[in-house]
Each structure stands twice: as structure tokens, then as C-alpha cells.
């Protein structure tokens, strides 16, 4: 790891761009997908169409999406915006399904009770549905975070600097230590994001700690993935 000691500044710079390139799509994806999921959950026909579109979008390979976006949105081929837009699209695709499932998990009886207690529709959505959908939303966000952090590295192939640049440079200069630093950095960053989301979930949704699988260590992303498979079979 002498290479790391001599190149700490460079790694930190790349780490910071990696953080930006991941945080923007994760946050934007969440903010865009939650209302879509909420709407889809109330309109079964819209839900089918939206989830099919999300599934199709998620099928598009990342490198191909990075490179086809310039022709559609008019950016340059090496513009970091391509990576941000593409990863936001993937984040919306994953998160819209999770959000729809999350709002679907709220008991209709509770919603009726909220209406009876005098909540206006908007108040009910924000003060009752959103918090109750929280645990499932958190589980979905964790999947989005881990996959986004890992996908950013593919952007290095299109000249967008991030920890993935250590792979391309390390390969060119025959430096396995450099590649290893990149791999460890990306996995560590994914774990940190995952931990932060779990922590935020516990602080914002204190009641969900006792509930089932949603807030358990790094185990639940794969469980959500299994649910994703199950949901995606029709």
C-alpha cells in the first residue's frame, strides 16, 4: 500500500468526485421516484405501465446509456452530466417500484382512520402515508445507493474522473495496488452510504426498529433484490 501513501491527495480528489457523482443521482432519484410511486400505487393501470417502463429502462446497459445520452440531450460525449443523468434514470427506475410497494404496504384501514380523524388528502399523504411507507422506502434507497456507487466507476471509461479512474490508470500502468485501492474505496463508500441511510432511517422512523427485516445490517439489500425479482416476474 505504499502507492496509496504516495498518492493520497489524488485518491481523495477522486473520492470526492465519486461522492458527488453518486449523491446527486441518489437524492434526485429518490425525490423524483417517491411521488411517482405514490401516484402509481393509487392507479393500478398507471402502475403497470410505469413499472414496465422502469423495468425496460433498468435493462439498458450502463455504458451504452452513458454514450447514447449525448445524442438525446445534446451533451458532449465526455460530459459528466451523461453519467449523472443516466444514474438518476436508473435510480428512478429502481426506486419507483420500491416506492409503489412502500405505499402499497400501508394498511387501508389506517388511511380511512386518518381521513376520519380529519386529515386533508395532502396532509394525509405527508403525515400518515409517507412515514408509514418509510421502512420500505429506506430498503429501496439502500439498493439504489449501493448500485449507484458501483456504477459510477463505469463512467471512468467515458473520461469522467472518479475512483473508477484508478482502474483504467492502474490497468494502463500495470499497477495492481492502484486498482485494489479503487475497489476498496468504492466498496467502503457503498458501505458508508448504506450505513448513513440506515442511521437516517432509525432517526426519522424510530418505530421501525422493532419491525422486521427493513433495518438490519447489509443483509437487506439482497432481500429487497429477491423481492424485486419476485415482483418482476409477470
Amino acid at each position: 500500500m505504499r502507492w496509496f501513501e504516495n498518492n493520497t491527495d489524488k485518491v481523495v480528489d477522486l473520492l470526492l468526485s465519486h461522492v458527488w457523482l453518486s449523491v446527486v443521482p441518489i437524492v434526485l432519484g429518490f425525490v423524483i421516484a417517491v411521488p411517482i410511486g405514490w401516484y402509481a400505487n393509487r392507479h393500478p393501470r398507471v402502475r403497470g405501465v410505469l413499472l414496465t417502463m422502469a423495468g425496460v429502462l433498468y435493462t439498458v446497459p450502463s455504458l451504452a446509456l452513458f454514450l447514447i445520452l449525448p445524442s438525446i440531450i445534446g451533451t458532449g460525449f465526455l460530459d459528466p452530466l451523461n453519467v449523472v443523468v443516466a444514474l438518476t434514470m436508473y435510480a428512478v427506475a429502481i426506486m419507483a417500484r420500491s416506492a409503489s410497494d412502500a405505499f402499497g404496504s400501508v394498511s387501508p384501514g389506517v388511511l380511512d382512520a386518518a381521513t376520519a380523524a380529519g386529515f386533508a388528502p395532502a396532509g394525509r399523504a405527508f403525515q400518515v402515508e409517507l412515514p408509514l411507507a418509510g421502512p420500505v422506502l429506506v430498503a429501496g434507497l439502500r439498493v439504489v445507493a449501493v448500485s449507484t456507487v458501483s456504477l459510477v466507476s463505469v463512467g471512468a471509461l467515458t473520461g469522467v474522473n472518479n475512483l473508477g479512474s484508478l482502474f483504467t490508470e492502474g490497468y494502463r500502468t500495470d499497477n495492481d495496488a492502484e486498482i485494489l485501492v479503487g475497489v476498496i474505496g468504492i466498496v467502503a463508500l457503498a458501505l458508508v452510504f448504506d450505513g448513513l441511510i440506515v442511521l437516517a432511517g432509525r432517526l426519522l422512523l424510530p418505530w421501525s426498529r422493532s419491525s422486521r427485516s427493513t433495518t438490519r445490517s447489509p443483509v437487506s439489500p439482497i432481500m429487497s433484490f429477491a423481492q424485486h425479482l419476485r415482483g418482476g416476474r409477470v
Binding site: 423495468g55 451504452a64 447514447i68 473520461g159 473508477g164 482502474f167 492502474g170 439489500p221 439482497i222
Partner: protein, 226 residues
């Protein structure tokens, strides 16, 4: 939108449809890598997934290790492995197999876990051996989810095989993207991306049909126990 016109021209050029760098040859290569990889990964992951799902043993280990595998950046594993295997497709195949394992494993054990316990108990009660329970009850009922795992693995491999062209050696459709970028030949890059996307969507559509077939043909056991 000159890039779009140039891309259309690229497709219209007959020299791009023949020879070693032609679309048909690259497409066949890409499908070849994909099927070879998914077959190897399935031979490893599906038996293990079925064993875990059937016995319930080592489940935690499988969940954690496949979760960790999913967090690994593909390009990093590919370049790292390439430094040790040298030029050639060995590193690419190794990386692709590694990436195809988690979804296959998850599909197999999540599929078996989704089978109603009462159905399995009933099968045991009528005297079926464990092997019969696995092959005649659990696998047929879990088939749509197992195919779902193969579907995710295949799409993952199609995408990653494109990235794998970064390392000299592997052919496949990724060559158009990587070589086109290196030469600033953007029509080639966009045309290659279009072919990759069409291939992925076509394969996904095929798996949707397979899953529907599996769902329609599965035994009615679920209904009789409910």
C-alpha cells in the same frame, strides 16, 4: 443532430455488416460470451442455491456474500484480474462469472423459500424422498423465480461484457464503444450502443415470455393447499 444522421449512415454502410468487425460477427461473439458465462455461473450457483433453499443451511452466509459481491465494481474486478491473466478473454470470463453468481444464487434460494411450507410438509407426508420433494415439488413451483435469477444474471452479463472490451482481447459489441471512443469515432460509438441496447431489450423480452410459460405450466399445488 448530425450525430444521429451519421449513426444512420454508419448502419447503412454495408462494410459494417461483414467481416470480423461487422455487426453480425460482434453480435455472435457477444452472445457467445454471455451464454458461456451464464452457463458456467449457473452450474455453480443454482445447485448451491437449491441446496441452501432446500436445507435452510448457510443461508445467512449466502445472503451476505452475494450482497458483498454485488457491491464490487465490475470494472475494478476486470482490470485487476486482467493484470494477472494477461491479454485474452480469461479475465473477462472470470469477472462475468463472478458477477452472474449473486442473482442466480438469489433466484434459486428465494425461489425455494417462496414455496409454501405446507406443500412441502404434505409432500413429505405422502412419502416423497427429499430428492423427489426438491425435483418434483420445490423446483417446479420455484421455476419462475429461478428463471428470474437467470434473467437478471444474463442482463448483467450483457452489460458487463460491453465494459469488458476495455481490456484488449475480448471482442463483442463493446469493441464499437471502446474503440470508437478511443478514435473519437462517435457514429461508431452510438451505433454500437444502439445494438447493445436492442440486444438487452430483446433478451429481456425473451425471458419475460419464458417466465410466463413457467408460471402457466406450474403445478396447481399452491391453490390446493390454500
Amino acid at each position: 443532430m448530425s450525430v444521429v444522421n451519421d449513426t444512420v449512415d454508419w448502419f447503412a454502410d454495408s462494410s459494417h455488416w461483414s467481416g470480423d468487425d461487422g455487426v453480425p460477427h460482434r453480435l455472435v461473439q457477444h452472445l457467445g460470451y454471455t451464454s458461456l458465462t451464464v452457463l458456467i455461473a449457473a452450474a455453480i450457483a443454482i445447485p448451491i442455491g437449491l441446496w441452501i433453499g432446500h436445507t435452510g443451511r448457510l443461508r445467512g452466509l449466502a445472503v451476505v456474500s452475494s450482497g458483498a459481491l454485488r457491491a464490487l465494481p465490475t470494472l475494478g474486478v476486470l482490470t485487476y484480474a486482467s493484470l494477472f491473466t494477461g491479454i485474452g478473454i480469461k479475465a473477462a470470463i472470470f469477472t462475468l462469472v463472478l458477477l452472474a453468481i449473486p442473482p442466480l444464487l438469489a433466484g434459486a434460494y428465494a425461489g425455494l423459500e417462496s414455496v409454501d411450507r405446507q406443500t412441502i410438509d404434505a409432500a413429505r407426508a405422502v412419502g416423497m424422498t427429499e430428492w423427489q420433494i426438491l425435483t418434483k415439488v420445490e423446483v417446479p413451483l420455484a421455476l419462475p423465480l429461478i428463471i428470474g435469477g437467470v434473467r437478471s444474471a444474463t442482463l448483467q452479463v450483457v452489460a458487463t461484457a460491453t465494459v469488458a472490451a476495455y481490456v484488449p482481447g475480448p471482442g463483442g459489441l463493446g469493441r464499437y464503444l471502446i474503440d470508437g471512443l478511443a478514435l473519437s469515432d462517435y457514429p461508431r460509438v452510438v451505433a454500437g450502443s444502439v445494438v447493445v441496447i436492442v440486444l438487452a431489450l430483446a433478451l429481456d423480452g425473451m425471458f419475460v415470455l419464458l417466465q410466463r410459460l413457467a408460471l402457466r405450466n406450474r403445478p396447481a399445488a399452491v391453490r390446493t393447499t390454500a
